[in-house]
């Protein structure tokens, strides 16, 4: 049986500890997001290494979208970051869900868990978000073929919210899994529940 974090009668200390832990996590997430944003959203020169990497990533997203659209029976072609078809679109930095990926990565890295679990969570989560973003682009393509207004609403409001909520869900699922991987301690769980 593992020891309790605080003895009985020290609920106030546990509460302060809990608040401090939460703010450390939130502060760490914000700080890491700032670092990721500063690295990702810099206006890099097109011929610089980060600039080329970002363009290459956008091209990958464009190719991924075209592949999925092809599977769904659409006749599309890709040139650079442009997907040409019934509703042609260009994949720009804002379309790559890099903000969602930065949020997920920052939250996972700031969360108190084992390094191996963090790396596994990062790899699986970032891949999942990239896949979800491609699904978003495919959905936007079909919306665009039907109505420009529908495309605009989905693009600017609905899917932006949805992808961030999915990221929150993915993070919560990973955090729950990471918790289960830390030594199981029913006594502590009971203690935490009492608090």
């Amino acid at each position: 049986m593992s020891p309790a974090l605080f003895p009985r009668g020290f609920a106030w200390a546990e509460r302060l500890h809990r608040i401090g832990s939460g703010y450390r996590f939130l502060g760490g997430t914000l700080l890491l997001m700032l670092v990721f944003y500063a690295a990702l959203y810099q206006p890099y020169a097109a011929d610089s290494l980060p600039g080329r990497c970002l363009v290459r990533y956008l091209e990958l997203v464009a190719h991924g979208s075209a592949l999925w659209l092809g599977w769904l029976g659409e006749v599309v072609s890709v040139e650079g970051t442009t997907v040409d078809g019934r509703f042609p679109f260009v994949v720009v930095l804002d379309c790559a869900a890099l903000d969602a990926q930065a949020l997920f990565a920052a939250a996972v890295l700031a969360f108190p868990a084992r390094l191996g679990d963090k790396l596994l969570g990062l790899a699986a989560g970032l891949l999942a978000i990239a896949g979800i973003n491609i699904a978003r682009l495919v959905l936007l393509y079909f919306a665009g073929t039907r109505s420009l207004r529908l495309f605009q609403v989905l693009h600017e409001e609905v899917l932006v919210l949805l992808i961030i909520l999915i990221v929150c869900g993915l993070f919560a699922a990973w955090a729950r899994w990471a918790r289960e991987r830390v030594a199981p301690a029913p006594a502590i769980t009971a203690n935490a529940a009492r608090a």
């Binding site: 593992s2 020891p3 309790a4 974090l5 509460r15 500890h17 809990r18 608040i19 832990s21 939460g22 703010y23 996590f25 939130l26 997430t29 914000l30 997001m33 700032l34 944003y37 500063a38 959203y41 810099q42 206006p43 930095l93 804002d94 869900a97 890099l98 903000d99 969602a100 949020l103 969360f111 108190p112 868990a113 605009q152 600017e156 409001e157 932006v160 919210l161 992808i163 961030i164 909520l165 929150c168 919560a172 955090a175 729950r176 990471a178 918790r179 830390v182 030594a183 301690a185 502590i188 769980t189 203690n191 935490a192 608090a195």
Partner: protein
Amino acid sequence: MRLELKPTLLGAALFLLLLTAASWPWSAREIAFSRALSAIGNLCFEVVPVAPGTEIELVPLLAARERSATENVDSDTQLVLRLAGGEARLGISLRRDAYLPLSIFVAALLVLPLERRRKLASLGLGVPLVLGVAIASVASLAVFVSSQAPGSSVPSWQARLAEFIFDCWLTPPGNRVIAPLLLALGFALGGGQVPGWFRATRARAAATG
């Protein structure tokens, strides 16, 4: 696990319901919001000059205007920039940049399990904060645009800061969702409300580490 999952899913469903109700397109509400926030913003811009040689004014539109080929949003407000060389008008959407983040913050806070008094205090602090950030974002957009004009008198440090804010804060679309959600989470943490999975992890890590 089921006990923990059920209220979370219910909370998420309630959050989406509240958000859908609050953000459903309704032009009368959007015009009223644009008028109110423009008035507050213009008052702020009068009191705090944003950039030397630049006058800013927010002009609410009488009806939402569909975007032109050069704009990337349907505007409900015009950002008027008066520079030494003339005047520029930019269409902006206060619905997208201020109303939706505000709705997300309020819906999240209403759903989070906080005491009623704490919830009201958080709303009292958070709503002006979200609106203040929206006005500051408009100001930084104005400074960024002004700094791009030929012969601009915006100091170089302010231009660089405005460019950084433009690239890292205004450009990523997810920020309009992430920021109000994190703010609501911050208020919840202040109330000692931490999701169960987080609380237990901390406790176990401390106990085993």
